[in-house]
Symmetry: C2
Subunit: 417 residues, 2 copies
C-alpha cells in the first residue's frame, strides 16, 4: 500500500459513513427497524435522488442507462481510460435490513469522498454504481442491472416482467428514469478496468472467526428448482391409506430424500426448502397439491454439478404414485474471481492491520456478473449473528468503516495501474 | 320383515326420490355440479322451506327448536309415544356434493311418503329431522344441532360462534327461524324410541365390494391436533445447515415419525395431515414457522387411545431444536351402536335381497350424538369412487332407492315395537 492509498484510507470517516447509511435507511423504513425498498418504487427513487444530491456537492458526474443503473464518476487524469468501478444496489428485500446493498453503494461513495478530501488524484476515473433491482423481490429475475450490463440477460427479456400487483416493469422504470431528468443517459456496457463490491457478509463466519474483513475469492454456484406434486383429494375419515394419492406425503418423501442426498459432514452444502405450499388445506381432506422450492448452493463446480444434477431424479423416484413436475428456475455455476482484486484486498487489509480471512460468498451478488468483464472481487464485513434478509440485520460502524478503508485503498491502487 | 314393512318398502319411488334430491341440489348449486349450502345461509333457508312445503302436502306436522333443527312428523296410533326418528342434515361443505346429508333427509321423507301412500299405520309417530349445521364449514363446531340435542354441547356455547365474515351465529339463526314463522317451536331434547340415519358411504368399500347396503355398527374415534413449529429465519446461501433452526425440516421429521407410528398393515388406521402451512415462504429464506394439522381415526377404543396418546410425544421428540406447541382441537372416542338397529337393517336388507356388508363409519355423523339417547344406527349406500366432500360426489338412483326401502321397512318395524 503506497502513500496515496494510505491517505485515501485514512480519510474515511466512520461517523459520516454511518450517518449516510442511516439516511438511506429512511427510504422504506419499516416499524421493526428494517427496510422495504422495492426496485423502481417511490422509496427506491428517493434513495437514488439522495445519492445524486450527494454527488452534486462534489461535482461528480452522474449518469444512468436503459435499465436504470446509476453511475457517480470521479474523474481521473486520463479522462477516457476505462474506469475502476465499485458499488452494489439500493433495492431491498420486502423485509430487508439497512445494510444489504446500501452499504456497497454508500461505502463506495465514502471512498470517493475520502479520495476527494485527501486530494488523491488517480490515473483512471473511479465510479460508484447502484445496480438496478438486485434483489428481484418485485420484478424477477434479480441482479437485473448487472446481468444486463454483462450481457447475461437481454434488456428485452427483462422488460417483460410485471410485479405481483400487475405493474409492468416498463412503467416503473420509466417513472424512475423520469424522476431524474437532468442526469446523462449512457450506453452499456462500457469497458471497466476493475470492479470491487463491498457488502455485509450475510453469514456468521467473520463474526465467529473474529475477523473484520472477508477477502472474497468467488461466489458459490446456485440453482433453484420448483417442484409441483399432484395427488387426489379424498376424505380423511374414509379413504383407506393404501389407495390414496397424498401429495403432501409424496412431497415430504422427496424433501427427506433430498436431505439425504445433500448430507455433508463438512457443512459446505447449502440446501434449503424455503417455500412449501399445500392444498386444498382442509384438516379432513387428503392434500391433492404441493408446491415446493429447492435452493441448492455449493462453491465447488464438480460437487455443484454432481448434486445439482441429481435433484430431479431424487424427486421423481419419491413421487409415491403422485404426478410430479420439476422446473429449474435459476442456475448459476460457481464463480471464481480473478485473483488480482482478492490479492489486493488481502494486502490492503494486512497493511491496515485488519484481521481478515479468505472466503467464498454464500449469496449471489452483482459482482458475479461483472466478473466476466474485468478483474473483480468483493470485500465482506461482519453482520450481527450472520442475520440478513431480515429487519434485524445489523453491523457496527467501525467494521463498516474498516471495509470502506480497504475499499478506498484498493480503488486507488487499481486506478493507478 | 312383516307385510307392513314390505308394503312400505315397496312404495318407495326411485324416480321421485331422485327428483327430490335434484330439487334440493338447486339451492347452492355450483357451476362444477356440486353444492355450497352453508348452515343458516339463504340457500339453507330455501332447502328448509322446500322440505316444509313437501310436508304440507301430506299435512305432516312441522316444528323447529332453539338451534333450528327441523322436524316433520307423521302421526302414530299412540300420539304421545316417543317417536322413531330418521334424518340427517341439509347444510353442505363449501365445495360439497348433492348427496352428503341431503340424502338422509330426503330419503327419510321418501320413507314417510311411502308409508302414507301404502296406507301403513304405525303405533309410534315417525319423524324426519334435518339437524342444523352438521358440516361446521361456516360455524364451528359441526354436528351442532345433534350435539345440542344430545346434551354434548350447550346452546349457550354454540351461540358464541361467528363465521369467517364476522356474522354472528345468533343473527344467522334468527333469520333462519324467522323465515318459517308458521311452524311450531319445540323444546329439546324429547324422548326418542329409535334413530336411523341414511347416508352415502363417503368411502369406496361398498363399491369395491359390490354391495348396495352398508350396515353400520358404529363410528370410528376421531381426534385432531394442531401443531405449530417455531424456528429461525436465515439466509439460504450463507447460514450453515448445522446452526439452523429450520421449522420446515423439523415439521417434516414430525410428520415422518407420525407416519411410522401410524403404520398399519391392516389399513384400518386413518391418518391425514391435511393442512400444512410454511412461512415466510421465500425460496432463499430458511422457514421459521410451520402449522400443520393431524386427523387420526380408529374404530377400536384401545388402539385409538394408544396411538392418539402418542401423537404429542412423537412431535416433541422430533422438534430438532425448534420450539413446538401442540393443541388437541377435536376428540371423540369410537361410538358402537346398540345392535338393535343394525340387526334390523341387516334383516331388512336380507329380506329385500340387497347385497350388504357390516361396516364402521369412517366419517362423523349426527347419529354419533343421538346414539347416547336411544337405539341408533345408520344405513350406508355406495357413492361413486368413494368421493365425498367433493363437487363430483355421485350415487345411483337405484342404490339411493334401495337404501330408502331398507329405511322405510326398518322404521315401520321400530315404530310398531
Amino acid at each position: 500500500m503506497n502513500d496515496k492509498s494510505c491517505a485515501a484510507a485514512g480519510a474515511v470517516d466512520e461517523a459520516r459513513l454511518w450517518r449516510r447509511i442511516m439516511d438511506m435507511a429512511q427510504y422504506g423504513a419499516t416499524p421493526a427497524g428494517g427496510v422495504n425498498r422495492a426496485a423502481f418504487s417511490r422509496e427506491d427513487i428517493k434513495a437514488r435522488k439522495t445519492l445524486i444530491t450527494w454527488a452534486s456537492e462534489f461535482n461528480f458526474d452522474t449518469a444512468t442507462d436503459a435499465i436504470g443503473n446509476l453511475y457517480i464518476r470521479r474523474a481521473g487524469a486520463e479522462a477516457d481510460a476505462p474506469p475502476v468501478v465499485t458499488g452494489s444496489h439500493l433495492d431491498s428485500q420486502p423485509k430487508g435490513g439497512k445494510f444489504d446493498g446500501a452499504y456497497g453503494v454508500v461505502g463506495g461513495f465514502e471512498a470517493l469522498e475520502a479520495l476527494e478530501r485527501s486530494g488523491v488524484a488517480t490515473r483512471r476515473p473511479i465510479e460508484v454504481v447502484a445496480w438496478s433491482n438486485e434483489e428481484g423481490g418485485r420484478f424477477q429475475p434479480g441482479c437485473m442491472g448487472s446481468a444486463i450490463f454483462a450481457g447475461d440477460l437481454t434488456l428485452d427479456e427483462a422488460l417483460k416482467a410485471t410485479d405481483p400487483e400487475g405493474v409492468a416493469i416498463t412503467d416503473a422504470l420509466r417513472e424512475t428514469l423520469e424522476s431524474t431528468p437532468d442526469i446523462a443517459r449512457r450506453d452499456m456496457p462500457f469497458p471497466l478496468a476493475g470492479y470491487i463490491e463491498a457488502h455485509i457478509e450475510q453469514g456468521p463466519r467473520l463474526e465467529n472467526g473474529d475477523r473484520t474483513i472477508g477477502v472474497v475469492s468467488g461466489v458459490q454456484g446456485l440453482t433453484w428448482y420448483s417442484v409441483e406434486v399432484f395427488g387426489e383429494e379424498a376424505h380423511a375419515g374414509t379413504a383407506p391409506l393404501r389407495g390414496r394419492k397424498d401429495a403432501l406425503k409424496s412431497a415430504i418423501s422427496m424433501v427427506r430424500a433430498l436431505e439425504e442426498l445433500m448430507h455433508d459432514e463438512s457443512d459446505t452444502v447449502r440446501f434449503t426448502v424455503g417455500r412449501f405450499e399445500c392444498g386444498p388445506g382442509a384438516p379432513s381432506t387428503v392434500p391433492s397439491h404441493v408446491l415446493f422450492t429447492v435452493d441448492f448452493r455449493h462453491p465447488d463446480l464438480a460437487t455443484f454439478l454432481d448434486l445439482g444434477g441429481k435433484i430431479r431424479e431424487v424427486c421423481e423416484a419419491n413421487a409415491r404414485g403422485c404426478d410430479v413436475t420439476i422446473a429449474r428456475t435459476i442456475y448459476s455455476e460457481p464463480v471464481v474471481f480473478d485473483p488480482t482484486v482478492s490479492n489486493l484486498v488481502r494486502e490492503c487489509s494486512q497493511a491496515l492491520d485488519l484481521p481478515h480471512m479468505d472466503m467464498v460468498s454464500g449469496a449471489g451478488h452483482d459482482a458475479m456478473h461483472i466478473a466476466a468483464l474485468c478483474p473483480s472481487g468483493m470485500i465482506f464485513v461482519p453482520c450481527e449473528k450472520g442475520l440478513s434478509h431480515n429487519e434485524a440485520e445489523n453491523a457496527t460502524a467501525s467494521d463498516l468503516a474498516a471495509g470502506a478503508q480497504v475499499l478506498a485503498a484498493s480503488l486507488v491502487d487499481l486506478a493507478d495501474r
